[in-house]
Amino acid sequence: MSAPLLTVDNLRVTYRVGRRRVAAVKGVSFSVARGQCLGIVGESGSGKSSLARAILALEPAATGQVIFAGEDVLKMSRAARQVFRRRAQMVFQDPLGSLNPRLKIGAALAEVLRVHGLARNRREAAAQTAAWLATVGLDAEYATRFPHELSGGQRQRVNLARALCVGAEFLVADEPVSALDVSVQAQILNLLKTLQTERSITWVLIGHDLAVMRHMADELVVMQAGDVMERGQAADILASPQHPYTRELVAAVPDVDRALQRRA
């Protein structure tokens, strides 16, 4: 296995609540090898989204270490941070809320390319935009559409294109498919898997659905109330969960096969 692209060591995220400070993430450590998918699973309030934001240096109150490709993300200079922002990108749950409703898809992507200095003129931007749309499985004509004209799955494809077009090699996806219907969810999960295998994208998948994790994650971190309950190979954890909380979680998932078997 190659050296880890991301190592998180004793990461803490605290928020001020009135006069107290409350820890949302209480000293979490893990690493992600290049080209792998790490799943972080937990229920609401487990700290998984705070953790996601902290990894991408979007959480100023984070302490500890987040080493990305040998550099501590939390202590980066401005210039280094800018490069990091290109290499590491976030994909959010609500694909509509994370797109500007007044910009056509093509314009939205071109803006990102321009901000990062990756396209010198309109023609270059258009060409790159078309190529990225193709990568995520959309026709070039979608560049002329507004976000509201797209379905949820298509919007999430656009969000992936936006994350990738700046040359991202690392993605943090926070519940990327929980707003989507099952049939579309499978399309997006497959696309993410393809990006991982064909473009060596490394990613952290944040979610609550253990069945999704089983299909996607190589390694799994199970969180509850800011702490890691269990960590290991996803297949092992799901086959024989060790921690009582993980067991409760696995048992609580409504599963077609298990339910039909039990009721037969």
């Binding site: 099952v182 999960l189 609580a252 409504p254 077609v256 096969d257 039909l260």
Partner: protein, 325 residues
């Protein structure tokens, strides 16, 4: 099109509390124009049984649920089919049929205590002993300290507790039918498991007929006795819950293949290409044909007939030529 009563072949002695036949809902964007939202829905809701209506967003399942209790938005109308209540059932809203919805936080009024809100919906016969009735309702839905909960405001309760409070409110009118529209979708899985367990328990206690609206096939497999799968406003397959083992309709097969599982092969999922058609753009013929691998010419032009066999029904041209069961 023949009557789509999936339960004809099912041997079930339980009393039919509410029979829905040929239900259709139209959307009237402007005078003289009708768009079909839901068509030909047939359901038998039986005492003590759960019927699940499953489908993806936009397939018409929530509209069907809303149509049963007269909760349709102003520009929609239940203008086809009929609802037949069993003799002696008080069909008034809240008495015959009550609802629980997806987001309890949205349904509860933030400025009134739980006690005040449930008191508001108590039927006249409970006015005299209102406090005792409130306490017993809260105990029924699993609260061990009913007095504290009655005095609480919604924001002081967790999502799971809010949903319990909503259930207590739904049960206040002693309904015979409970329509649960995505009752656990907004909840965490461990909380979801507890609420589903509670629903089952309440059903046995009160002999409730439950219509469960959900997109989650796992929840269906856990809870339902009978399943109806909807697509683009039509029921495409129905039968006892075991039909999920060997579905016949390509859409239902596709849904199950697209579903991430806890068991079996953990490889790539198989998505269904395309998306659910938006309202008013239902394809001609079979509504699913643009996304269907088995689509032939007839699927594009003619609506498939409803075929029944051994208590199951399916609407698909590719099935039933030589008996599909």
């Amino acid at each position: 099109m023949t009557a789509t009563d999936s339960s004809t072949g099912v041997k079930d002695a339980a009393e039919i509390v509410l029979a829905v036949s040929g239900l259709g809902v139209g959307y009237y964007p402007r005078a003289g124009e009708r768009w079909e939202v839901v068509a030909e829905v047939n359901l038998n809701l039986r005492a003590g049984r759960t019927v699940a209506l499953v489908g993806e967003s936009g397939c018409g399942k929530s509209i069907t649920a809303a149509a049963l209790g007269g909760l349709l938005p102003r520009n929609m109308q239940r203008d086809r089919g009929e609802l037949r209540w069993a003799a002696g059932v008080d069909a008034r809203p809240g008495r015959g049929l009550a609802y629980v919805f997806q987001d309890p936080g949205e349904c509860l009024n933030p400025v009134f205590t739980i006690g005040n809100q449930i008191r508001e919906v108590l039927p006249p016969e409970d006015f005299r002993d209102a406090s005792a009735r409130l306490t017993s309702l809260l105990r029924t839905v699993g609260f061990t300290e009913p007095e504290r909960v009655l005095a609480s405001y919604p924001h002081q309760l967790s999502g799971g507790m809010q949903q319990r409070a909503m259930l207590a409110m739904a049960l206040a009118g002693r309904p015979r039918v409970l329509v649960a529209d995505e009752p656990t979708t907004a909840l965490d899985v461990t909380v979801q498991a507890k609420i589903l367990q509670l629903l089952g328990q309440l059903q046995r206690q009160e002999n409730l007929a439950i219509l469960l609206i959900t997109h989650n096939l796992g929840v269906v497999a856990e809870m339902a006795d009978e399943v109806h799968v909807m697509y683009a406003g039509h029921i495409v397959e129905s039968g006892p819950v075991a039909l999920l083992r060997n579905p016949q309709h390509p859409y239902v097969q596709g849904l199950l293949q697209a579903l991430p599982r806890l068991h079996g092969e953990a490889g790539r999922l198989v998505g269904i290409p395309g998306t659910v058609p938006p309202l008013g753009r239902r394809p001609t013929g079979c509504g699913f044909h643009p996304r269907c691998a088995l689509a032939r010419e007839i699927c594009r032009t003619q609506e498939p007939p409803w075929r029944e066999s051994q208590g199951r029904g399916v609407a698909c041209w590719a099935r039933g030529d030589r008996g599909w069961a």
